[in-house]
Symmetry: C2
Subunit: 266 residues, 2 copies
């Protein structure tokens, strides 16, 4: 249905704004994505918002028209509101002219078909939403099946992570699990667990990668726990020619992932 909202205290405005907060996302099972490009990527991946919010008096755009029609056809709500209210919802002075409320996806390990892709990314206790979104984007680029989040990661449905994913949040499988649960699941089938490491590792170029290959990166400050590295099937080293002994986690994962897909293509 189509609505117009002009009051700041409207309960729908409050509801949508509350989704900027993790606690409310968890309770409602919904999340927020902003911007026509992101929402169009979502639509092209078969994901429509339950609620589409648009600024009044925005410039017409054929993609917005298509989005609006698709949401209405699917029984969703289209809300037109003022720029001020949109600013309140998005918490920005210059909000994108459109945002959408989506239902969160199934993030159980049981939903993952490991044979659906030759490569998967695994992030352990990743804390930065930009890093997590970037990993999703990289996963899309390398043709990964998805991203598995271990232990206490930042919420992948945060506005920042969704934005940094550049739409990959809508195309990549996501799973969240504790380490014990993940390693039990992994050992229940094929799957090579790989991490960059300084312990008994082989050079990352030309290492014997095997599909399905699970590339694991650790927390931004602490790296991977030693026990997790030890549990890997393959530990690889990457050149570190400077003073530092590590790369940004999303960078390390991407360099490894590109090496793995190159090795699979021989």
């Amino acid at each position: 249905m189509r609505h117009s909202i002009t009051g700041f205290s409207n309960p729908t405005v409050k509801f949508i704004k509350s989704l900027r907060d993790k606690k409310h996302r968890r309770r409602e099972g919904k999340f927020l994505a902003e911007g026509l490009r992101l929402l169009t990527d979502a639509r092209e991946s078969g994901r429509l918002p339950e609620i589409l919010v648009m600024a009044e008096g925005r410039d017409p755009h054929p993609l917005l028209g298509e989005l609006e029609a698709a949401v209405l056809a699917a029984g969703g709500d289209v809300i037109e509101t003022t720029e001020d209210i949109l600013s309140k919802i998005t918490g920005k002075d210059n909000p994108q002219a459109v945002c959408g409320v989506y239902a969160e996806f199934d993030t159980s390990l049981a939903g993952i078909d490991r044979d659906a892709a030759p490569i998967w990314l695994v992030a352990q206790a990743m804390r930065d939403p930009g890093n997590l979104g970037t990993m999703l984007r990289t996963a899309d680029a390398v043709g990964a099946g998805g991203v598995i989040l271990l232990d206490d990661c930042v919420d992948p449905f945060s506005v920042e992570a969704v934005r940094a994913s550049m739409g990959a949040i809508f195309t990549q499988r996501l799973a969240t699990a504790r380490w014990e649960e993940f390693i039990d699941w992994l050992r229940g089938g094929d799957g090579q667990l790989v991490a960059a490491s300084l312990r008994e590792a082989v050079p990352y170029r030309g290492a014997p990668y095997a599909a399905p290959c699970f590339i694991m990166v650790g927390n931004e400050s602490r790296g991977l726990p030693e026990a997790y590295e030890t549990a890997c099937d393959l530990r690889v080293t990457m050149p570190m020619k400077g003073r530092a002994d590590s790369l940004n986690a999303a960078i390390a994962g991407a360099v490894l992932a590109y090496e793995v897909i190159a090795s699979f293509e021989g």
Copy 2:
């Protein structure tokens, strides 16, 4: 000299706090770095703060003692202050227990010796301080000579960029230039300009890289201007197996840089 400051309105506190703002950094030619690890990296790279600020009653730490002694020996100032004032300076509820004020470095192209390293990173109109800091960190890891910032980039001396660089701000050469200035300088000597591109490009694996190799990445939203791509000596494509047609700029630069150093080591 050693001082103790207990008043929020102390002019030194105001001065240090003002360095969170780009305008003040430019005027003063100083910048702020936070955290014992970062300040220790700086010291080990031969960079000492002009002013070292420490929280009273912090836990003693041998690295902090060394830093303090080095700053005093070099004629710098060591300030002890309350946690509340440190919070005001850093703008954080839980500030690191130490921060330092550093003189900005020379960032002229003329200061760059292109033959000092086989690889250099070039960022055009990069807007995200985390991306820029991450590029500095990657540059350190691949043994690059430094990072050249073209056109309107985010300030590399911002607190966020300095933090994301993980100390590489102190070890990598930095230069800022307009495109015309850069391309004139580049063509005044050896140097291969390389970018990821969709235009008349060759696969990035096995491309004919040559030192000194300048790897250029573009703005996060718009990518590189067409004219900049056209001016490159080598345009390479990277596999994009998903829906998106690009990677995060810092990710693309890192994957290319690791490929270039692998090709140099043959």
